[in-house]
């Protein structure tokens, strides 16, 4: 019998999202800093600098999408989710969602955040603690207890020789 999932609430999910935002920005800032240092020793014309800033913006946008979509579609957990021990999965099957659906969920998440974060309020009232983006993407956020690195079945077969 499958245990009943525990749905995670607003504060836990907000902390996980904040951790992910921090990770995305720290990595992006580090890369931007290196590129800026390299460019500072080269004489780049003004128009090229403008183009590069535009390219950097597009790359940041793609990097953010890739970050969330890759983690949600593979393990269902971004690094922030992993720290908070939560997981995004399909509302019915309980499995990680596909890449396309992950991209859509991110789009819905942005839409939910636009009207002064009002799209997240349903998390407080829904029985399965779903936000607007969860309802639109057909996902839920459940708790993901830490699994041991080696399964107990394998551990029971291991015999440690006496010293």
């Amino acid at each position: 019998m499958t245990p009943k999932p525990t749905y995670e609430g607003l504060a836990t999910r907000a902390i996980a999202l904040a951790l992910d935002a921090a990770a995305i920005n720290v990595i992006a800032l580090a890369v931007a800093g290196i590129v800026a240092l390299v460019l500072s020793v080269l004489s780049v014309p003004d128009w090229l600098e403008t183009v590069l800033i535009g390219v950097a913006g597009v790359l940041f946008f793609l990097w953010t999408i890739a970050y969330f979509a890759t983690f949600w579609s593979t393990t269902g957990q971004t690094p922030g989710d992993r720290l908070m021990r939560i997981r995004v999965c399909d509302a019915e099957a309980g499995q990680p969602i596909g890449f396309g659906r992950s991209v859509l969920r991110l789009l819905y998440l942005t839409i939910a955040a636009l009207p002064l974060l009002a799209g997240f309020l349903p998390v407080l009232f829904d029985e399965r603690r779903r936000g607007l983006h969860d309802m639109l993407a057909g996902t839920v956020v459940v708790s993901a207890p830490e699994e041991p690195a080696v399964s107990p079945a394998v551990l029971s077969r291991v015999r440690i020789p006496p010293r």
Binding site: Y7, G9, L10, A11, T12, I15, M84, R85, L124, F125
Partner: protein, 143 residues
């Protein structure tokens, strides 16, 4: 047969010897207590403490402390000690232990944050539902 016949006298002798030994031990300890409590012992100790030998012994103990201090100072000044400390600090066993402890600490912090955030989840929900005059969310345990 002969062994069985001898068993009883042997056990008897052993029991008598055990009793005698115990009594002898008690007597010796009682005698020692009496000697230590007597004026003679007190005087002997006083004389020993007043003698030059006692003074000399105390001086030697303080000299040894000075010697230990000097040894520690020299040890701390020696480069070899720091080479040894460096090699111990860089050893895989020590670095692994430190790494494991750091991960354990990070895990503990994360666990604390998780527990608090889950309590906050419930409080936020209760407050929001109270404001919206909606019934409380059923607990996960209820069917």
């Amino acid at each position: 047969m002969l062994g069985r016949a001898l068993q009883l006298p042997i056990e008897l002798t052993a029991s008598v010897a055990r009793g005698a030994g115990r009594r002898l031990g008690d007597l010796t300890l009682a005698g020692l207590d009496a000697v230590l409590a007597s004026r003679v012992a007190e005087e002997a100790v006083d004389r020993a403490l007043a003698s030059r030998l006692a003074e000399h012994t105390v001086d030697r103990v303080f000299d040894q402390e000075r010697l230990i201090d000097e040894t520690v100072t020299r040890l701390l000044e020696s480069d070899e000690l720091w080479v040894l400390v460096d090699s111990i600090a860089k050893s895989p066993a020590v670095t692994e232990a430190i790494a494991r402890q750091s991960v354990g600490f990070a895990d503990q912090v994360a666990e604390g944050v998780r527990e608090r955030s889950q309590r906050l989840d419930v409080r936020l929900e209760q407050a929001a539902r109270r404001i919206a005059r909606r019934p409380a969310r059923p607990s996960p345990e209820s069917p």
